[in-house]
Symmetry: D2
């Protein structure tokens, strides 16, 4: 932290700032310069409101130096985080029959469990999480799960609870949707990624999901972050529509500070003046995320662009840019989807994209999983 004094600041004003810093049990380092004095601050400043010194007489501005996040920071944890998901179907009973959350996720498929296989999200691999925007009925979920498994995709996304900007739009199937996902998981062995919107449904979603998704609009829903910090499942944390990288990592910090270290970031487009796509997909955030944090990062090109024709180009670009995988919308019949059909690929389109991704992964030394 650095306090920059005004050019006309008096010696008394400088002394007063130094004294204020000392009262905070911090160390002040005055630096007289050609035109003004700056005062460096060292010590444990995480508890200080960066703006409380700014209002003292003679202070021009206050610059923060250290990052406010710790657990999410690569400085504190140099090695990359790998989030591991065992490949075995969920043996837990259906809802209504005494479903309990196991302390550790069970392998997604029996054979894989025996062979000790798992999906690993992190550098080196490139993980695909594909599926429809929302659970619409059991048939379409099973068709999608079967298709994905046939293509070697291990994780399916689908929302049972849907955040919709209009109260008059389809709000998701709710608990019934979770049951459908559980049956698809049991039948096909596919892992389930689904969104949690509120603390009321946290137990049910934790039970149903292999990865719990926190949506864009809830990135700073701190009560919800504290709640998922106490679950046994990894958390997929989407970037807020106008979140800076620091705010995003601070949201991850909330989850990690509560004891859940399995956080997966997901870039899905930010809001800018630009109107050629639904959002502005910020692939340029990938290198700084990798520099500042050890957490894996996925990209959602479906929400990022909002148009299915633009999805494949952005999916390939995400791979080339160093992302650790994709969250991508695939639907058996996108033109009849209840939500977000315009940005969903159909099965054929997804198959073609998968081929392209595999060809591109090789020279990059990456493995699609």
């Amino acid at each position: 932290m650095l306090v920059v004094m005004h050019r006309q600041a008096t010696a008394e004003q400088i002394d007063a700032v130094v004294a204020a810093i000392r009262r905070m049990n911090l160390t002040a380092h005055p630096m007289p310069g050609a035109t003004r004095t700056a005062i460096g601050i060292t010590g444990n400043i995480s508890a200080v409101d960066p703006r409380s010194l700014e209002v003292l007489p003679g202070v021009e501005e206050l610059l923060r130096v250290t990052k406010p996040y710790k657990l999410a920071s690569r400085e504190m944890h140099a090695a990359d985080t790998y989030v591991r998901l065992p490949l075995t179907p969920d043996p837990s009973p259906q809802r209504g029959e005494g479903r309990k959350t196991p302390p550790h996720p069970q392998p997604l498929s029996p054979e894989a469990g025996e062979r000790g296989e798992e999906v690993v999200i992190g550098p080196g691999s490139f993980t695909l999480i594909a599926g429809p925007c929302s659970v619409e009925n059991e048939e379409m979920i099973l068709r999608t799960a079967d298709f994905l498994v046939s293509k070697g995709v291990h994780l399916m996304r689908a929302g049972a609870f849907k955040p919709r900007s209009s109260p008059y739009s389809f709000q998701g199937m709710g608990l019934e949707g979770l049951d459908i996902l559980a049956r698809a998981r049991q039948r096909t062995g596919i892992g389930v990624v689904t969104e949690l919107m509120d603390t009321d449904n946290a137990d049910a979603v934790e039970q149903a999901a292999d990865i719990i998704q926190i949506g864009t609009r809830n990135m700073q829903n701190f009560s919800l972050l504290k709640r998922v910090a106490r679950t046994s499942k990894p958390v997929l944390l989407k970037r807020g529509l106008s979140a800076t990288l620091e705010e995003w990592l601070m949201a991850a910090e909330y989850v990690m500070a509560g004891g859940n270290y399995n956080v997966i970031l997901c870039e899905r487009g930010v809001r800018t003046f630009s109107d050629h796509s639904r959002n502005t997909l910020d692939l340029s955030v990938i290198p700084p995320v990798k520099h500042l944090s050890h957490l894996p990062i996925l990209v959602d090109p479906s929400h990022g662009t909002g148009k299915r024709d633009y999805v494949p180009a952005m999916a390939l670009a995400a791979l080339a840019a160093g992302a650790d995988g994709l969250l991508i919308e695939v639907h058996p019949d996108p033109d009849r989807a209840l939500s977000d059909g315009a940005q969903s690929l159909d099965f054929a389109g997804f198959g073609r994209l998968l081929d392209s991704l595999r060809r591109l992964a090789e020279p990059l030394g990456r493995t699609i999983n």
Copy 2:
């Protein structure tokens, strides 16, 4: 809604779009033009995903015409909404003694109740809601409440639950903070405006508050919006950091669709590239809000600017621009505040601003309350 066909679209493609529209039980109005055909759509299109037609062959783009909000719209409700709060202390017992939510708010002060007085938020008046960012202890809340009452201010803001970007920052006093607010309300007769962050604390906040605040980061927390739609208290709905006017009115629509028509909008700055202030206070949203909606709108110049020196100018501008009041941070000792001290006025500064507002209100035909 208007479907714009591609310049080279075939007659078959146009027919297919017309057929698709009819399958939705809507009416299609083809308009052949010099270079392309456009197809108007009329009927009840609120249930249609605006992008589902966009992916049909030959379609260039799809333009939406009607607004998606109804209850919040001035078209549906031409007269201005006035939110009325009776001036009488809360006669309800303290927490732990069987606190119950009265079906209608009680007058804030006994005399006012007898005289039938009330605070009215809406055009013609200019309502001040002032107070500290957070409840820090009972003494500072009582001092602030006494001060505000002495200045003729009827509503106090103060957060018991605080959304903080860092998990290591002060998170508010919680239920204890609500109790402090209830005592201040009982002693001074001041109305209480306080934030609700999650459904878990909805009953407690509804009990303590005269107005329930929904914060910026929760503007699209739809579970929370549905919950406050069922409370008996007016809702102050802050604009999201990157919310369009339409999204903001849709969030209000969530509350109103659930049966709570007493929604007060609050502009508090949006996020842009601009870095001279904490956020970019968007006073220019006031005229369009008044044009499109009948709901009252307040302005929060404290969060909007982030610096106390800039607050008075923006407070006066908000009045001149046609806002219905202010949400403004006042603290007995801002330089020692636990949060947001840098943007809080002290008592003397608030007093000076109040004088300026009163002078300015007169030629505008407005009454400060």
Copy 3:
């Protein structure tokens, strides 16, 4: 300037940074802290690329402390700048008759010149510059000038050269438009504010204008800024669509560094995600401009909002927020205007706004001129 070292930076890396700073003839102030070292830099750092140190091994980031603008800064020039325009008609001959630029502007009206009157732009007064977007013909300019003079307005805006986003739109009348403005000026004594788009027409515009306008899209047209720095007329510098306050003041610095100190800033809306108005009028920039600079600032509510119905509210708000005046579009028949009719007031609307501004100016201690 402050160099923040990486947490794991070695002593050698720190020494290397200190040495690099010394090679730039600057002074290094190392500050070892609890978790990392920061190195303050003092001396004449205006010539240093702030990012050249950032790439040295062990450097985490580089924070700039001093402002890059000098002449535009209030620190260097504490007193407010007042731009003064004498009130006398331009006695210079018409174009084609040997027009010359006088070293100092002549009074705009003969009587005023005798009485030593002038328009003063700066704190205390509130200056209106009104008129049509573009010069369309002589008749409408003379009508507008007569109307404005009758209302006590001393300065008229009108573009002879128009920056249009489409090459197929009306591009302005050019030199013929300047001649029309000169005749209006001579006949009515009104001062002329008109835009210069390129160096080719600099002499002609300097001759015709009492104030030379630099448009939004040219705020960082540095060749043009250097050219107007050599003119004898004040420069009205509109803020760029996505200019930070620092960039804007640096553009003013270009003009001042070339010797022209009469710079008037003009906020006219910035580009954000927000879509309820043509641009987002950033009234919140006014207090920081006044804090950081001594230059006067006007507000253009016409471009800021893009809709005439929203103009009066923003004009009043600009006055209340502390702006030094308005640049505002007025047209004899806005619905038939060749450009920007939708955001222009008609004469009656402008008259009503003027009355409101006068009523509001009084309690603010300001004089409309």
Copy 4:
């Protein structure tokens, strides 16, 4: 174009709008709907100010349908544009010896000219334009040119005229810099891409450059666009900091409407709230550019990120996303560069990136040139 009437609009108001449309020699298509009437407009509406109808009584809003750009549009010109540059040194004499602009560019290298070789910018290939931010002296330009030629790169970027936000920063070597570029071109056969900042230097830059660059800050400098429309050289048009895709294509339209059809677009990052990189590189603009226009598009990852460590990832992503090439900063000694050193690669870093690009190009079916 579509006029949407207010819900309460009267039949007279609708008739008045229809009449206004007819007075413009356009055809009106009224569409009465369940809750309101919309009026479609067909005919040649390019000359109409879209907002002039919006102010008529009863009109709610006006929606534009057709795109304002024609020559830049893929609808008007379905085939991709390929910009072709012959590979031969410029045989024209040096400046001061009667330099003339040849009507068509000469091959860049003698052998290539004999063999009829050329650089082709457009789909299928991936063209690299590399070099320092600015011409600093002859030695570094020659070293860079030799290095690039040795790597098979045919085009070098380097600025003789530099747009700098501070008047106190290095402004480029000017005409002397152009001479240095001409000598490098003659000696090595490398093609030259250099920026034109104003019409005064248009002849000199046209003479020196194989491609004339129009910088970000001049994207809407319409006088400059009209001037380069009259040159014989292709124009590289950088996207403005806050330009929408439509505005960008309209700027290209200015150049094409003046007769120069060889326009190359270049995405270089836009300005958003995001602060993790210098700008927000908008790779997602590539698919819409390819959809809406036939012009080639390059990506500048150096300005896009502002940090050399982030450049390779974004360069690879640009290739994968479908860009037609890169504009990229390479410097013999970036840490001593006079400008933008922090975002420049050194020779070794560029060599490594080139290897990666070549490996990635193959599965994409692209050829690096």
